[in-house]
Symmetry: C2
DNA sequence: ATAAACTTTCAAAATATTTTGAAAGTTTAA
DNA sequence: TTAAACTTTCAAAATATTTTGAAAGTTTAT
């Protein structure tokens, strides 16, 4: 396989994975393109490469910056802005974990904690099932939360080393 | 808060979380409804409760069965089918992990392995960046794969116990 | 102050996903 | 068989998300 073909496949695969995980396809593709690019690229180059509109490129780049996955680069004497991706994959994984935890897990935990306080008739099967399901999910969610918090703080080698020491 | 209000909130929150994770909202809501229900419910009851059409209910229930999250129950002397959810939250988490791994991670790993074999000019910055990014992502994906495989086989207490022994 | 270079916005259009519901299909009891 | 009870299908409609591109906005050099 040629490098160019490989790049296209990677961008496609990354885009698909992104969309299955609730991140829009274009955003994942722009990220993939920048991951593969040794130099920073301009909006224009990204538009051309992925055949997307200026507006789309602009919004997508802004989102990626908010996720902490790419940065702007300013070059002396130039007006254009250049964009480049964080290349350390562990840092990327942590950023994504942190962002999704904040946006998705934290609000759910808040609701679950509220729901855990609901009182009712212990003889009522509906109440008992509610309490058990909510309680169990709450426990699981808290474990996930603790693990993600640890992961976000951790070094890659330490993290996987610790996991595999146990999971041998 | 009343039990009924709590149920509605839970169904809403579960639906939202589902949609953020690439699972459709209705599917997550039906699952939530069954999780909270001490008895198995009929298609009719689910339609009424969530105000969804027969077709939608039918397809959603079928999907949930394919995910291994709910089961049909047959009652002697009755024509209707009853549906109930697996209530053990750890089992649910494992089913979801297994299913998503199979559908999403496995195909990506396949592509990454292919892309890892691409040969090129070691002096070419584009090739070097491609190789590094693809290689690093491949390593990370393999670690995630191993961890999920372990999780799918593991008992809940053992799994979290092991994690927290390390992540204290 | 002007104008060129560049970025951002946002309403409308395109696309994709989900839902509906009526019709077709299946099963069971009599 | 037949027909009632129930389930499944799927094309069309509704909804939601994403993308476009022209216009408005901003910055900078002169």
């Amino acid at each position: 396989m040629e490098l160019a073909e490989g790049k296209a496949k990677f961008i496609e695969a990354w885009g698909k994975l992104g969309s299955e995980w609730g991140i829009n396809r274009t955003m994942a593709q722009v990220h993939a393109l920048l991951l593969l690019s040794p130099e920073a690229l301009t909006t224009e180059e990204i538009m051309d490469d992925l055949k997307i509109s200026r507006g789309n490129a602009n919004m997508t780049l802004r989102d990626l910056i908010n996720w902490g996955l790419i940065e702007k680069q300013h070059r002396a004497g130039e007006r254009k802005e250049y964009f480049f991706a964080e290349k350390d994959v562990w840092t990327i994984a942590r950023q994504v974990a942190q962002e999704r935890k904040r946006r998705e897990l934290d609000p759910v935990l808040k609701v679950l904690n509220e729901l855990s306080t609901i009182k009712g008739d212990e003889k009522d099967a509906h109440y008992k099932t509610f309490k058990k399901s909510v309680g169990d999910i709450n426990k699981l969610a808290k474990n996930v939360d603790r693990t993600l918090t640890t992961m976000v703080k951790a070094e890659e080698n330490w993290f996987w080393g610790s996991i595999f020491k146990i999971f041998k």
